[in-house]
């Protein structure tokens, strides 16, 4: 008599496997890790990047009146890059931006940073809407 084959995958405890085994699967699936912001002294005094909508009136006034630090550099020059994305993704991105009150640019940069791209903090805060307005 042959040994019966289990019909279902076993339902057991939470995965009792080592972190190493888990990491192998995670790597295989290409799951990214969130990277902690640099907390070195050079960055410690700088403001934490926030979505433009998170700023309140007093913050804006304070920031506009505060002189730039001597070693503070202006934001990097901008380059326009356009990409074609699936419609559903574009829709999901627009909805996320609307829900979180942020910008497409901020959303894209967050994603790029999450997978390891280095983005200067000074470039993270910028809100493209204000620069467009000034150019007119």
């Amino acid at each position: 008599m042959s040994k019966p084959t289990p019909m279902f995958r076993s339902i057991g405890e939470p995965l009792d496997v080592s972190d190493d085994a888990l990491n192998k699967v995670v790597d295989k699936l290409g799951v990214p890790s969130l990277v902690k912001p640099d907390s070195s002294p050079a960055h410690a005094s700088r403001p934490v990047p926030v979505a433009p909508s998170a700023l309140i009136r007093s913050d804006v006034q304070e920031m506009s009146q505060a002189p730039l630090l001597a070693n503070e550099q202006a934001p990097a020059a901008l380059e326009r890059i356009s990409v074609d994305l699936p419609t559903y993704l574009g829709k999901a991105m627009r909805m996320r931006v609307a829900e979180e009150g942020t910008t497409m640019r901020f959303l894209v940069m967050q994603g790029l940073q999450a997978i390891g791209f280095k983005i200067d903090l000074r470039d993270f805060v910028s809100d493209g809407r204000s620069t467009r307005g000034k150019g007119r």
């Binding site: 339902i11 405890e13 085994a21 699967v25 890790s33 559903y88 979180e100």
Partner: protein, 234 residues
């Protein structure tokens, strides 16, 4: 027992769910520990004032890279009855590990296309991780911020969840002031002013949710058969 609140999307109510369920279990006298893995530190900020924080609830903010060791340490030292893990709203490694270590992963979602899309993605990911080790994942979607009068879009999202056969908790969390106020008062509904209608309704929702969660875990884990809504969850 370990319950993880996870979604690859932010703003779906993970921290609120975590704080509310922690309050619901703590109100029964259980020792609840919340592991806050979200870099925004939402839950730990809500419970940072020890004067208002329910005594049975404690919070830690370990490095997500060392979650497994942290859970082992908790088991060896304070050994809480329930550990709730709140992860960041992103598709990332910590979500994977937190779900892998949990008896149940709750995936909160509102009835919107974006949230349901991400909930499905999260569920698929957890399923894939467990399947890699020949096990079946235990997760449930939880509808949050449910409005009493649903729009056409919300009804469509609900139908989509049904069509995709995503496992859903029967209990829901409505759009209630009692939930939104946790951030202001640091008090989950079970510890807020019960004479207010919004609090009473939230407590009723959470009691139902707590019972359902316990029944689920009992069904899966024979060693939890001693659990009851009035008993311990060790």
């Amino acid at each position: 027992m370990i319950i993880t609140c996870a979604s690859s999307k932010g703003g779906v109510g993970k921290s609120t769910t975590c704080a509310c369920l922690a309050g619901a279990f703590a109100h029964l006298g259980e020792m609840v520990h919340i592991v806050d893995l979200d870099a925004n530190r939402t839950v730990s900020r809500w419970f940072q004032d020890s004067r208002t924080r329910p005594r049975a609830i404690s919070v830690s903010t370990p490095d997500p890279q060392h979650l497994t060791e942290h859970l082992q340490e908790l088991g060896r030292t304070t050994a809480p009855d329930l550990i709730m893990i709140d992860v960041a709203g992103a598709y990332e490694r910590a979500l994977t590990v937190a779900a892998a270590r949990a008896h149940l992963t709750i995936i909160p979602t509102t009835l919107s296309e974006a949230d349901v899309y991400e909930a499905e993605r999260t569920a698929g990911h957890i399923d894939q991780i467990f399947a890699s080790f020949g096990q079946e994942a235990m997760f449930r979607l939880l509808l949050t911020k449910v409005q009493p009068l649903q729009s056409h879009g919300q009804r469509h999202a609900a139908r989509e969840i049904q069509r995709k056969q995503l496992p859903l908790l029967k209990g829901i969390m409505g759009l209630r002031a009692a939930y939104e106020e946790i951030g202001l008062s640091g008090l989950p509904p079970h510890y807020a002013d019960a004479s207010r209608e919004t609090v009473a309704k939230a407590v009723a929702e959470l009691d139902a949710l707590r019972s359902e969660v316990l029944a689920l875990v009992k069904q899966r884990e024979p060693k939890f058969t001693a659990l009851s809504s009035a008993g311990g969850i060790r």
